[in-house]
Amino acid sequence: MTVNYSAFLYLISAVFFILSLRGLSSPKTAIKGNVFGIAGMIIAVCATLFSPVVSSYSFIIAAIAIGAVIGLIIAKRIAMTALPQLVAAFHSLVGLAAVFVAWASFLSPSTYGIGSSGAIAVSSLIEMALGVAIGALTFSGSVVAFAKLQGLLSGKPLRFKGQSILNIALCIVLIILIAHFTKTQSGISFFIVTLLSFALGFLLILPVGGADMPVVISMLNSYSGWAAAGIGFTLKNSLLVITGALVGSSGAILSYIMCKAMNRSIFNVLFAGLKQNQVDHETQNEEKPAHIGSAEDAAVLLKNARKVIIVPGYGMAVAQSQFGLEEMATLLKKDGIDVKYAIHPVAGRMPGHMNVLLAEAKIPYEDVFELEDINSAFTETDVVYVIGANDVTNPLAKTDPSSPIFGMPVLDVEKAHHVIIVKRSLKGTGYSGIDNPVFYAQNTMMLLGDAKKVTEEINHYLKE
């Protein structure tokens, strides 16, 4: 197969990748989209395998076979609640693969047709250094994100004095080293560039808290794309450049959506963190009485409603109570009650996480609505059932300019006739550490306990 021939196949492959992403515009076409993606990948791999640059196959086939077995087993076994850490782990693999490819291209540039050892074109050197830097950063950043999501590292932000100064210093040293590398083609400076980028990835993600993970994961998604594009520039391969750009912009857009849903900038998420003002709110906490109800009261309220909206949050995922929710919705629907779900963009630990968990419990996707599509419906809703969500329902975001979450779009649950809030205890104040006035409102009933147990208890009374 000639070079032109494989270039043509790469183009077809790129078109398939675009169609694949296009398929995700609706759940109806999404499965077809995934098939397009697989087809694009098969074409890309075959076009490379049958091109003259590849002449030895045994190693390659062994590597693909081992990878396939590992990948398929992981994909089959993983629990849907653990999706965020799985995606983080996968991102780290792309990053590391990019590092290896960049090193391979540095060590034997003639294989890639970009010159010979010690005489690589300057443009290729710059691209190589950028590719290795972004790849290494993606790898170590994703490893930290994985460890945090998996609970191996504390989800709390890890900060120390002079952190930002250290990061900036590292960036400057990195740029100087890349310049040095392009001038001298020295392997040692390339190695140090790799090491420093690993370090930078760790340092960038360590200070980010658990609830900001949707932003971090999207950002790392974006990085893995830019890493692929960087390698594409080095190898002068347009397929890698196109795909990298697609993935990179996808991750960037997701990060933007997540940041907007928290009314914060990406710099704020990465470097500043949320202002902590727990202390003065905690004192207020004890003065206000909350109306604490029982599962039976909740069942009565739900039974007498005509319209019910369920607001799930990360607490629902932790307690695995989506199956109980589905049962509750089915019981209510039997009595002719209208049941819908309202999802805030940053509920969960990755974009769209709640939707997958609800779908796992066989909740039809037509019943699940995004914030802007359902927010006007709360005024005509009889009962809102908030389960494991807190900050995303806090009306202070609309009224109190001094609140750290002021300006964040929230679900207007307080506008419904009745609000039922399931929470482990009254003391916890969500990740932002701020109090939620909805808990103490006249029309609110608090149900204290594990989300799964409480929902099952309500179902028990609904069946009677």
Partner: protein, 138 residues
Amino acid sequence: MPGNVTEELNAVTQSVSQATQQLENARTHLQNLTEHILNSSSVSGNDFVFLLTVFVLACFVGYYIIWKVTPALHSPLMSVTNAISSVIIVGALIAAGPESFSVSKFLGFLAVLLASINIFGGFAVTERMLSLFKKKKG
């Protein structure tokens, strides 16, 4: 007189052959020059501009497509883009391709392995997620 004609003829033939030789030289020179230009960094600069064009246009395509993705499918979007970004395997295959063994071939082998985990795992988990999204019964 005839002697003169022969001499002149000889001279003309000689200059013609000289000119042909010069032309041939010029041609080889030009050929070398073209090859030199094609191989030199100035054209790899053109390559860069070409790839940059492709890159920027692809970013725009990505921008418009991704905004059309329904928020409900943002998790599958992340896992499928993750699988697709493993197209970096193309670079890994080239590194692992040569017959002779070298460090870069070994790095290529490792990269093929990592990217394969990602490709198979990524597409399979996306498929699993998407199969969960069901319409209402009946």
